[in-house]
C-alpha cells in the first residue's frame, strides 16, 4: 500500500509537471465553460429556472459539472499519445506498481479540474453569482469525485482502442447526450415529464442537482445525499473499471 502511494506520487509529480509545461492545454480546457459563463449566463439572469434562488446558483454548478465531464472524458487523448510513443511500456518495465500510472495521472486531473472550477466560480462571482462559501467548497468535492471517475474511464478506454479517431468518436458521442440529459446548462426542472424521466438514468443528473442545492445552502437534504451516493458510487465503479481496463491493456499488444 505504501508502495502504491509512493509510486502514484511519482507519476502524479511527472504528470503535474507535464500539465504545467503545456499552458495551452490549461487554458483551452477552460475555454468552453468560460464562454458559456460569459456568453450564455447573462441570458439567463432574469429567467426563472425553477430551482429556487438566482439563475447563477443553478447555472454555475451546471458549468462545473460540464467542465469535469468534458475535461475528464478527454484526458485519455494524452495517454493515447504516450502509449503510442512507448512511454507506458517504459513505465511497465520498471518495478512501479502497475496501478500507479493510472492513479497518478487521475490525481493530476482531479487537481487540475478542481483548480479550474475554482477559477470559474471566481469569475461567476464577478458576473453576479452569490452562494454560501460552505456550499461552494462542498461542491468542489463533487467536482473532484466526478473528475476522478471520468478520468479513470477515459484512460481505461484510451488504453484499449486502436486509434485516436476511434477514441475521439466514442468520447464525443457519449459526452454530448450525457451533457444534455443531465440538465447541465438548463435544469430538468424545466423539462416535460418524459425528458425528466429519461434524465434520471444519467448519473450526472444527481451530481448537478446536489450541487445546485449546495449552492442554495442546503447541505443534507435528500437531493444532496442522493447526489453524493450516486457520485461516490460512480467513482467506485469507475475505479474498478479503469483498473480492469488498464490491466487488460497490458495483456494485449
Amino acid at each position: 500500500m505504501n508502495r502504491l502511494l509512493a509510486d502514484t506520487g511519482v507519476i502524479f509529480g511527472r504528470s503535474m509537471r507535464q500539465t504545467l509545461r503545456s499552458k495551452t492545454a490549461l487554458t483551452f480546457g477552460m475555454l468552453q465553460p468560460l464562454l458559456f459563463l460569459a456568453l450564455m449566463g447573462p441570458l439567463l439572469a432574469k429567467v426563472d429556472l425553477r430551482t429556487g434562488g438566482s439563475s447563477w446558483q443553478a447555472f454555475v454548478p451546471g458549468l462545473l459539472v460540464q467542465l469535469s465531464l468534458l475535461g475528464g472524458m478527454f484526458v485519455g487523448m494524452g495517454i493515447l499519445v504516450e502509449r503510442h510513443v512507448g512511454v507506458i511500456d517504459r513505465m511497465r518495465v520498471t518495478p512501479l506498481h502497475p496501478a500507479a500510472p493510472l492513479l497518478g495521472r487521475t490525481l493530476r486531473d482531479v487537481v487540475q479540474l478542481v483548480v479550474q472550477s475554482a477559477l470559474l466560480v471566481l469569475l461567476g462571482l464577478a458576473f453576479g453569482l452569490r452562494a454560501p462559501v460552505a456550499g461552494v467548497l462542498l461542491g468542489f468535492v463533487f467536482v473532484g469525485l466526478l473528475s476522478a471517475a471520468l478520468a479513470l474511464l477515459s484512460y481505461g478506454l484510451a488504453m484499449n482502442v486502436k486509434t485516436t479517431p476511434e477514441f475521439a468518436a466514442i468520447a464525443n458521442t457519449t459526452v454530448l447526450p450525457m451533457m444534455l440529459l443531465a440538465g447541465l446548462l438548463l435544469p430538468m426542472t424545466l423539462a416535460p415529464g418524459w425528458l425528466d424521466g429519461v434524465s434520471r438514468a444519467v448519473p450526472f443528473r444527481y451530481t448537478v442537482d446536489a450541487m445546485r442545492h449546495l449552492y442554495l445552502g442546503e447541505y443534507a437534504d435528500t437531493t444532496v445525499l442522493t447526489g453524493l451516493a450516486v457520485t461516490v458510487g460512480l467513482t467506485v465503479v469507475a475505479l474498478w473499471g479503469g483498473l480492469a481496463l488498464f490491466r487488460r491493456s497490458g495483456r494485449t499488444p
Binding site: V85, R92, R251
Partner: protein, 258 residues
C-alpha cells in the same frame, strides 16, 4: 566458458500466438536462447520474424503463450517484478515524452525504479556524464537528434544498473556516424558494467560488428545459431549476407551496408 556459470538469460520453447479475428497468428513458435554475463547476443531476422514479440515477452510486457524463461537470473513467469527491477528495455519507438526535458526524464526514470529523490539526481548526473548528455539536460527530448535520442533512451534503460539490457532495433533510422557511435556505446556498456545485451536487428553488418553470438530467427523460429564467424564458415560464405541467404533462402529486406 559456457555452462560453467548459470546463464543470465535462459529461454526454452518460448512462444506467442495472437488470436485475431482472421485466425491465430503464431508470431513466435518455441524459441530457445541463452546468454551469459557480459555477452552481446544478436537476434537477427527480417521484419515480421518475431523479434519484437520475443523481446516484449522477455521484458515482461507480453505474457508468453508457452515456454519458460530465466531473465536476469529470475523466473520470468513466477517473478516478473524481480525481472523488471534487473533489466533495461529500450523499445524501437523509444518511449520519450517529447516535451519533457532530458534531465527530468532521467531523474523520473530513477524515481520509477524507486530511488530516492537525491539518489535519482545523482544517478541522472552520472548517466548524463557517461553518455554525453550533459549539455542537453534542459532541452526537450523532441529537440534531440536521432543519435542523441537513442543515447538518452539507453541512459533511461541503464538507470537501475541492469543485468540484462534489451535493445529492440537500436539503430533503425540512424545515420552511419550515429550508428557507429551507438555500437561503441553498447560495447562500452558491456565492457564497463558486464551488462548482458540482447539486441534485435535486421542489419547484417550490425550483427556482424557488434554481436558475440547470433541467433537467426525466421517466421518465429530459430533457424541458425553461432558466432558471426562460425555462421559464415559453416555455410562457406564470405559475408554474413551470404550466410543469411544460405540459411533462410532470402536476403533481409534492407541493405546490409549503409
Amino acid at each position: 566458458m559456457r555452462g560453467m556459470t548459470p546463464p543470465v538469460l535462459d529461454v526454452h520453447g518460448l512462444s506467442r500466438t495472437f488470436r485475431l479475428r482472421s485466425g491465430p497468428v503464431h508470431a513466435v513458435r518455441g524459441i530457445d536462447l541463452a546468454a551469459e554475463r557480459g555477452e552481446i547476443l544478436g537476434v537477427l531476422g527480417p521484419n515480421g520474424a518475431g523479434k519484437t514479440t520475443t523481446v516484449r515477452m522477455l521484458a515482461t510486457l507480453l505474457p508468453p503463450s508457452g515456454g519458460r524463461a530465466v531473465v536476469a537470473s529470475h523466473d520470468l513467469l513466477a517473478d516478473p517484478g524481480a525481472v523488471r527491477a534487473r533489466i533495461g528495455y529500450v523499445a524501437q519507438s523509444g518511449g520519450l515524452d517529447p516535451n519533457c526535458p532530458v534531465g527530468e526524464e532521467l531523474v523520473t526514470q530513477g524515481r520509477m525504479h524507486r530511488l530516492s529523490r537525491a539518489a535519482s539526481r545523482v544517478r541522472a548526473a552520472e548517466l548524463a556524464a557517461d553518455l554525453d548528455l550533459e549539455d542537453l539536460l534542459e532541452r526537450p527530448t523532441a529537440a534531440l537528434s536521432g543519435g542523441q535520442r537513442r543515447r538518452l533512451e539507453i541512459a533511461l534503460g541503464l538507470v537501475n544498473h541492469p543485468e540484462v539490457l534489451f535493445l529492440d532495433e537500436p539503430t533503425t533510422g540512424l545515420d552511419p556516424g550515429s550508428r557507429a557511435d551507438l555500437w561503441d556505446l553498447v560495447r562500452r556498456v558491456r565492457h564497463d558494467h558486464g551488462t548482458t545485451v540482447l539486441l534485435t536487428t535486421h542489419y547484417l553488418d550490425e550483427a556482424d560488428a557488434l554481436a558475440d553470438r547470433l541467433v537467426v530467427v525466421d517466421a518465429g523460429e530459430v533457424v541458425a545459431e553461432g558466432t558471426p564467424a562460425g555462421l559464415k564458415d559453416r555455410h562457406g560464405a564470405a559475408t554474413l549476407q551470404d550466410a543469411f541467404l544460405a540459411i533462410t533462402g532470402r536476403a533481409t529486406d534492407t541493405p546490409a551496408t549503409v
